[in-house]
Symmetry: C2
Subunit: 313 residues, 2 copies
């Protein structure tokens, strides 16, 4: 059930009419600061402002017409919910989104704005799962997990596929890791496309469950992590962990101060809005815990969804 490079290529064809081919930007100031040649794959400029649209779109358009007619469902209050709602809207099918009743109104509005059909529940994992189960049984909708789903992983891998088409000589690819969907897809695409390429993940020091899972050789769940990188709070899944373990060289943790400094530098110098989770990936270069000097490094910027009224500086 692990997606192959071929699955990623098929996903790329499938989502091509709907997703942006995002630009790859370079910035001399950043290169000088970190001592490497950096290529930023701008998923912050993707639809819904995040790579999540790739996976959701691939999942939605992988369904047969009969399956699709019954819709899709998920529980999420973040970018995945928006991405699934938009992909479903494009295909003209319902997206049932279960959200905790204490989700910020900006997130509710975003999902509703893309036509998602929201059901609120108590803010516990049990309530979310039981509510989602009920909706799935009532509607026959297909569940699309935010990361532990091969269609989603294959979709997320299309970002690295495009990056390596544009910059074939990369020595290293860096992606952030939360649940591992982006990292899994990235690592499959990169290692299959280029022998010897190194795939490295960035993770917040304050939510270092993937780092610890790699050390332990088993999934160590994340327990109440507190980091500004709110897209990276989840733990690796049963599908993503083995892929990460097999294909990712190492997971490098990044401090909260490093995340914020990096984010501000990219805003100021590269003139693009990145969310803290994106800054975690660039932060691997910024903090220089590992020596990548002189190499060509591709970095997947996960997204750009930030509340402009609450900036951390």
């Amino acid at each position: 059930m692990t997606p192959t490079l071929n699955d990623i290529r098929q996903a790329a064809e499938r989502i091509k009419p709907y997703a942006h081919r995002t630009p790859v930007l370079t910035n001399q100031n950043l290169n000088e600061k970190v001592g490497t040649q950096v290529f930023l794959k701008c998923e912050n400029l993707q639809k819904v402002g995040a790579f999540k649209f790739r996976g959701a779109c691939n999942a939605v358009y992988s369904l047969t017409d009969k399956e699709a007619a019954r819709g899709v469902c998920t529980h999420s209050s973040g970018n995945h919910a928006q991405a699934l709602a938009l992909a479903a809207k494009m295909r003209g099918i319902p997206a049932y989104i279960v959200m905790p009743n204490n989700a910020p109104s900006v997130k509710k509005n975003a999902v509703a704005g893309y036509g998602g059909l929201i059901t609120f529940c108590e803010p516990t994992l049990e309530a979310r799962e039981s509510t989602l189960d009920r909706i799935r049984i009532e509607t026959g909708a297909t569940m699309v997990h935010p990361y532990n789903d091969e269609r989603v992983i294959a979709g997320q891998g299309t970002a690295a596929l495009e990056l390596l088409e544009d910059v074939p000589d990369l020595d290293v690819v860096i992606a952030p890791v939360g649940g591992g969907g982006l990292l899994s897809g990235t690592s499959i695409a990169a290692t299959e496309l280029k022998k010897g390429i190194r795939v490295i993940a960035g993770e917040p020091e304050m939510a270092d469950d993937a780092f610890r899972s790699m050390q332990a050789g088993k999934i160590i769940p994340s327990v109440n992590p507190k980091t500004i990188a709110d897209g990276l709070l989840t733990s690796l899944g049963t599908l993503t962990f083995p892929i990460v373990r097999e294909r990712v060289e190492q997971i490098v943790t990044v401090s909260e101060a490093g995340i914020i400094e990096t984010m501000k530098f990219i805003w100021e110098r590269a003139k693009i809005i990145i969310e803290p989770s994106s800054a975690v990936a660039v932060g691997v270069l910024w903090e220089k815990k590992i020596n990548l000097r002189g190499l060509e490094v591709g970095v997947i910027l996960s997204g750009g969804n930030v509340d402009l009224g609450k900036l951390p500086w």
Copy 2:
């Protein structure tokens, strides 16, 4: 002395090794909001964060080796000074920049950071001009005016050249207007490349000297304008005014509130950092004073240089 399309094509070849070919982005939310199909030419992602690098780079690389050896000079405290300093640094020649002694330290540091040789003077036009004259005589450096210079105008026109290569079917191109360098280059490139294309300028209501100049048929100087779009404070020049008058359909003024709303919308939805002057161009669509419904509209985003510590919301 008016640049031709051929001058712009030559400029494009000349600056190609040094300048970014900036991406053209689309955004569905923006299209729905303004009722047109918008193509954003992202000069905020250009070197030094502004289109100004194109003109400065073309001017610097147009010089003979003998001329170049004596350097270039200008008086400016803004993006042009940074752009000229960087272009000169790339060619390995000195850039003498005259700045008022009350310029913000962030601007001084930026110019110095690109290797510009700064001479401070009293903050009056007379002091600037006499200081610049003295330096020019002492050094033999070539003066590069921020906009009233055909090499600079030709360089600025390369943004529209690229835009129309990427999106040949545009009905309209919009650029902001201050001194008119960008608008002149844009209007020459666009009207020469595509018969019948409409070129429209955006100007702050609070600095509407170009609008009034067009009405009056002569240059009406700007007197102490106060607008958040601090890149658009200057008046049209003797070289730019006739070009604008001949090739630009109309100048549309944009309110301060419209500039700020548009700027915030682009940050939030398109995930790119644009400065208020860029928002003036998009603001033409936002405020809907003219009906461009259903058309394909290219917008030149002038730059992304903003103080993140002083956001207007």
